[in-house]
């Protein structure tokens, strides 16, 4: 059987796109989307659906696209994925739906992510999405803490069930990691705004500049609301414990990206927030955040941007598309190197990094081969800015003064399979229980928590004395 080639939407050429922060991939046209959807074999046993963490009816929505019924396709997706314009852009499809697609065996999986994005964009741009119907208030109030993907999904589902939902965000803008973390060129902010507007139309009240644990305590929330959902994410960056880590010019990816995405430092001095610029930038890490930081650095005008990763291409956790895009744009990948120390001048400004070369040893607990340093292989690399993108963990502010809210050894809130925490009336999901994971998993958690909150409040269940935690670690 001859299988047609996979279609990918047009992308802006690298030399053009690195001059600005606008989106790279331009999305399918109607014709292209139909053509790509027609490649789908409509398998009797669709592995793609099993490959999706929230089991979107992929086979079903693709069939509708193939027939030109885009709105119908969107309806099918929205049954399980509240934010397809976002997940279509940021899910690691190659290890989920597309990885499971039968055609992947030939290296030609259906472009599920871009099709999902297409229907969501198509309906949004034409104003054809279903207007939400706000049900009558059922008399119960739920607080949702944080405003990222887990919270957005949880809030939307609860609002549709008739709950009064109040969402609390510590920053000045809602959206969580979708606005401070993921750059504009990968996820335009207007899409996140659109989803938040949808929440508001559902009657969700979004309160920015309120930090739970400081402005209002968690105990006060529990007192005031019938239930509380914690979708507070994993916002605390890990730093390398090596000399020179506090030199000027050494950033956490979170700080670097927050300055750029949330504070628009790339428009300094028209916007007030600066970010240190220079010629050479090194990004330490191999995940999506590292790619985002590296590509943002290019757009800021760095002449040379390195990804410094301790393992090899095969062990990188970033989406394949991000790695490809980074390469196309001129990011240089240096594999099998680990930082030893940062070197600065007398003013405390970063000048260079000392690295040591690694070889791969036996697999570690993550199943990936462990990097082993080669003695004597140290060398230095000149850098003006270094960005540490080696992972994040949940923020501890929320938990201060709340010992009953238990966590595992990584600081993730313990929950049972119904997303119940160790504190009565309090549910949690997303990166707050997982550490750094994905948007789609956070969304799935938010959905599960909403269902569980509804069960809890409609059946008047009592809280278990002890929960069977699913994330003890």
């Amino acid at each position: 059987m001859k299988v047609k080639d996979r279609l990918n939407p047009p992308e802006r050429p690298p030399e053009e796109r690195i001059k600005d922060f606008n989106e790279v991939n331009l999305g399918f046209t109607e014709e292209m989307a139909i053509e790509e959807a027609k490649r789908c074999l409509q398998c009797p046993k669709p592995f793609c659906i099993e490959g999706c963490p929230v089991e979107v009816n992929i086979k079903g929505f693709i069939k509708q696209i193939a027939e030109g019924n885009f709105l119908e396709a969107l309806k099918i997706i929205k049954k399980t994925d509240a934010i397809p314009a976002i997940t279509g852009r940021v899910c690691p499809q190659e290890v989920q739906c597309e990885g499971a697609c039968v055609l992947n065996k030939m290296g030609k999986p259906i472009n599920i992510g871009k099709l999902e994005r297409f229907v969501a964009d198509w309906a949004r741009e034409r104003g054809l999405e279903e207007k939400p119907t706000v049900p009558e208030w059922n008399g119960k109030k739920v607080a949702v803490v944080g405003s990222g993907p887990a919270s957005i999904t949880c809030a939307a589902d609860l609002a549709k069930l008739g709950y009064k939902v109040v969402m609390y965000e510590a920053l000045h803008e809602p959206g969580g990691v979708l606005v401070y973390g993921i750059p504009e060129f990968r996820l335009p902010k207007k899409i996140v705004k659109h989803e938040l507007d949808y929440l508001r139309q559902l009657g969700v009240e979004i309160k920015t500049n309120v930090i739970i644990g400081k402005s209002i305590s968690l105990h006060e929330l529990v007192e005031e609301y019938d239930a509380v959902f914690l979708g507070t994410g994993a916002g605390t960056p890990n730093f390398l414990k090596i000399p020179g880590v506090n030199l000027n010019g050494v950033y956490s990816a979170n700080e670097f990206l927050t300055r750029i995405n949330l504070m628009r430092a790339y428009e300094f001095p028209n916007y007030d927030t600066p970010v240190i610029k220079g010629k050479i930038c090194g990004v330490i890490g191999g995940g999506n955040t590292a790619m985002d930081a590296a590509r943002s650095a290019l757009r800021l005008g760095f002449e040379k941007v390195y990804i410094l990763y301790r393992r090899t291409r095969n062990e990188m956790t970033a989406r394949a598309e991000e790695i490809e895009h980074a390469k196309e744009e001129g990011v240089e990948f240096m594999f099998l190197v680990s930082p030893v120390r940062f070197i600065g001048d007398e003013k405390g400004n970063l000048k260079a990094i000392e690295l040591i070369r690694n070889e791969l040893g036996e697999p570690d607990s993550s199943g990936r081969r462990r990097p082993v340093p080669i003695p004597g292989s140290e060398f230095t690399l000149d850098l003006d800015v270094a960005i540490i993108a080696i992972g994040q963990r949940p923020n501890k502010v929320l938990r201060q003064g709340v010992p009953e809210l238990q966590v595992n050894r990584w600081g993730c809130l313990l929950v049972d399979e119904r997303m119940r925490t160790t504190m009565p009336k309090v549910f949690a999901g997303g990166d707050a229980i997982r550490g750094e994971a994905t948007v789609i998993l956070a969304m799935g958690d938010g959905r599960k928590a909403a269902k569980s909150i509804h069960e809890y409040l409609s059946k008047g269940e009592s809280w278990p004395d002890e929960i069977e935690a699913i994330n003890k670690g």
Partner: protein, 283 residues
Amino acid sequence: MKDKGFRIIRMETLAPRIKLMEVEAPLIARKAKAGQFVVLRLHEKGERIPLTIHEAFPEKGTITIVFQEVGKTTFELGTYKEGDTIMDIVGPLGNPTEIKKYGRVIIASGGVGSPIGYAVAKAMKEAGNYVLIISGYRSKEYVILEDKLRSVCDEIIIATDDGSYGRKGFVTHVLEEVLHKDPNWDLVFTVGPPIMMKLVCEITKHHNIKTIVSLNPIMVDGTGMCGACRVTVGGEVKFACVDGPDFDGHQVDFDELMRRLNAYKEYEKLALEKFAKERGLKI
């Protein structure tokens, strides 16, 4: 909340380029304790900057902040008047200063540190401590909040660098004299320019007196998300926003703190010059 912004109900000039602002922020006023701060953003294009709370009035739903016009944002804030609104204010952030009965406490503050010194002195006094305030300023015209400071302590020594008011000399000179005469103090709390805090800590270390410092590094979110405010304390990296802003002064790497405060010097200069030009201000 964001739609409305936070309304300024009082803007007073205390000294050249030093202003006191009272702003409506009921949630923050309800919770604020001595030593805590807020992060504010003036408008859509603004940066987020931390400012320490001077006083909180829960019934009125307001807080006061004393700030010095040093950079673009503080100069711009200085142009705001009663009735104007600040787009975003979040807080109270950071851990409150640890208030308890220590016994005899010295509050050593410098310049715009004294409004924070006031808050801590007041709480320390209420907790039953004997409180001596040593407050230093550049010269007579920079002396601020003197009556208020006097009202929350048992003793006060005001010093000016040029001797135009009170004792002549730095806070550190006065502190040295005080400790030389009588080293029996249980705690020193110090807040002000980093170099002053560093020297205060050197003196108190010599006298073996526990010293709390209130640090003022650069911050972005102020909630533990970015690490802009990291400081080395006892050889460990801490985030001043969530682990501080108070630390054991004898453990703090002040030289690093001062270098980090200079990280954006050129950018700050550029932003301020641009602002001054646009507004026709002399800076």
